[in-house]
């Protein structure tokens, strides 16, 4: 269970971006969150991924009440949520080759030995050719880089996935391919999904349930 209660969050105490948001997501469920740009969707996504500490409210993840965020969150909780960001260019360290980019979470959590095999398997699943793996982010297209970012998010087999406008920068075929990868992963593992976006058609077809920003925040 992923539960957000009365979350108020932002970057300036006097003017929070998110005010009193409530959200509940059951395991295996997929929820599409729609909203206009600038309303605070991404901030809420960061809170769900335990990357941003809310000023008020509680986040409960699989029965654990989360008390610390970002580095202060226990590693097991942090890695239980996989995140894919909107802009792959900014979400990829420009110095790492795609192979290292995908392997980074495995190495960071001390699973170095299985990295090589797992990277190959993930690359195949997201549709990254072997020749692309030895390239750096500036040598591949946005779509290819986003595939690598998705592979990175799946590397630790998270129980929850947060896709923050994952397909906003991509063309229709890449969008379809990435959504198929996410759905395939969810079918096999039963992971829950929070997909944030502003395209009702896409989210309506992708997610079991969609909700609008105005419905989760209190006035």
């Amino acid at each position: 269970m992923l539960e957000l209660k009365d979350i108020t969050a932002g970057y300036d105490r006097r003017a929070p971006v998110v005010r009193g948001a409530h959200l509940t997501l059951r395991p295996g469920e997929s929820l599409g969150l729609l909203g206009p740009s600038g309303c605070g969707k991404s901030t809420l996504a960061r809170v769900v991924a335990l990357l941003h500490r809310p000023e008020r409210g509680t986040v409960t993840l699989d029965g654990h009440a989360v008390t610390g965020f970002s580095h202060r969150a226990p590693r097991s909780l942090r890695t239980a949520v996989g995140v894919v960001f909107q802009q792959p260019r900014l979400a990829a360290d420009p110095r790492l080759r795609l192979r290292d980019l995908v392997a980074e979470p495995l190495r960071a959590t001390g699973r170095r030995t299985e990295a090589a095999a797992r990277v190959g398997e993930l690359a195949e699943r997201v549709g990254l050719g072997a020749d692309l793996l030895s390239r750096r982010p500036h040598e591949v297209s946005d779509g290819q880089l986003q595939r690598a970012c998705l592979a990175r998010a799946l590397a630790l087999r998270p129980r929850w996935l947060v896709c923050d406008e994952m397909t906003a920068m991509l063309d229709a075929s890449t969008t379809a391919a990435l959504v198929a990868v996410v759905e395939d992963y969810r079918d096999r593992t039963g992971a829950g999904l929070l997909a944030v976006g502003h395209d009702p058609v896409l989210l309506g077809r992708w997610c079991g349930r969609t909700t609008h920003w105005n419905e989760i925040v209190k006035d």
Partner: protein, 288 residues
């Protein structure tokens, strides 16, 4: 009609840059090999006094002339440059390491650590750093290492500021979030993502620090606080030659002074070219 200013472009600009890089590299290579090779090979005593040949103008026997006790100035200058380069390199390296560590810690940890560290930096910067350097040297006996310590202790401040600013800008990038979400510890984020990101800036700061440190060493020596009088150093040579300047003996001050400027310009030329190369986007801003 708007006036057009001609500025070398395309191939012409690249060739002036190449010329600058080659000249700087050649000058630096000559200087460095001179200070490395001449002293062990020449087997000449830079302290050999010859009162009969005192204050001789430049000649074939003494290309830079002689000083007021008849010592060969070319040899003294090479030895002086050796000391200056050593102090410059070691002090710049030490200052960069300290500055990078403090700046990275302040930027990465943030909060109270950041505020404390940066206020300490502000406090130290508010004292004229030559004065602070004089204080450090005064505590110890004159020698190379106190000078290095004095220069290093006063020159890490700007590096700390540069590195902190760079870390702050990197810390907010989504790829750091992605790393945190992937289970990376603070240490791993710093070593894997932040440090490689700030190395170009820190490296440039370190390289530009070398001539600065050389000048600082010369200033200390000029004030009589650097090396002991018998050891040659460029600042000490200028100081020693100052007395005979009014009598029309220009060479004891001119040559050591020139030798201080030449490596400075060479290093600046190389550093500028490297910065342009590293960041083509900034090139247009730099050449405006």
């Amino acid at each position: 009609m708007a006036e057009t200013i001609w500025r070398p472009q395309g191939r012409a600009r690249r060739s002036t840059r190449a010329l600058r890089v080659r000249t700087s590299a050649a000058v630096l290579a000559v200087v460095v090999s001179a200070v490395l090779i001449v002293p062990p090979l020449a087997q000449l005593d830079q302290q050999a006094v010859d009162l009969a040949a005192k204050l001789q103008p430049p000649s074939w026997a003494h290309p830079f002339g002689t000083d007021d006790v008849g010592r060969d100035l070319l040899l003294r200058c090479v030895y002086g440059l050796r000391v200056s380069l050593l102090v410059g390199l070691v002090a710049a390296l030490a200052a960069t390491v300290i500055g990078t560590a403090v700046g990275a810690a302040a930027g990465a940890l943030g909060g109270r650590t950041d505020r404390l560290a940066m206020r300490a930096v502000d406090t130290l910067s508010s004292v004229p750093h030559l004065l602070l350097g004089v204080f450090v040297v005064a505590v110890f006996r004159p020698g190379v290492w106190p000078v290095v310590a004095s220069v290093a202790a006063t020159h890490w401040l700007s590096t700390a500021r540069i590195v902190r600013a760079e870390v702050l800008s990197l810390r907010g990038r989504p790829y750091i979030d992605a790393a945190v979400s992937g289970g990376a510890s603070r240490w791993r984020v710093a070593v894997r993502h932040l440090v490689p990101g700030i190395l170009p800036q820190a490296g440039l700061a370190a390289v530009l620090m070398i001539p600065h440190a050389m000048w600082h060493e010369s200033a200390l020596s000029f004030l009589g606080l650097g090396l002991p009088a018998h050891q040659a150093s460029l600042g000490g040579l200028v100081q020693g030659g100052r007395g005979s300047l009014l009598a029309g003996h220009w060479w004891p001050t001119l040559f050591p002074g020139r030798l201080l400027i030449v490596p400075t310009l060479a290093v600046a030329g190389l550093a500028g070219a490297w910065r342009e190369r590293r960041n083509p986007r900034r090139r247009s801003e730099l050449t405006l």
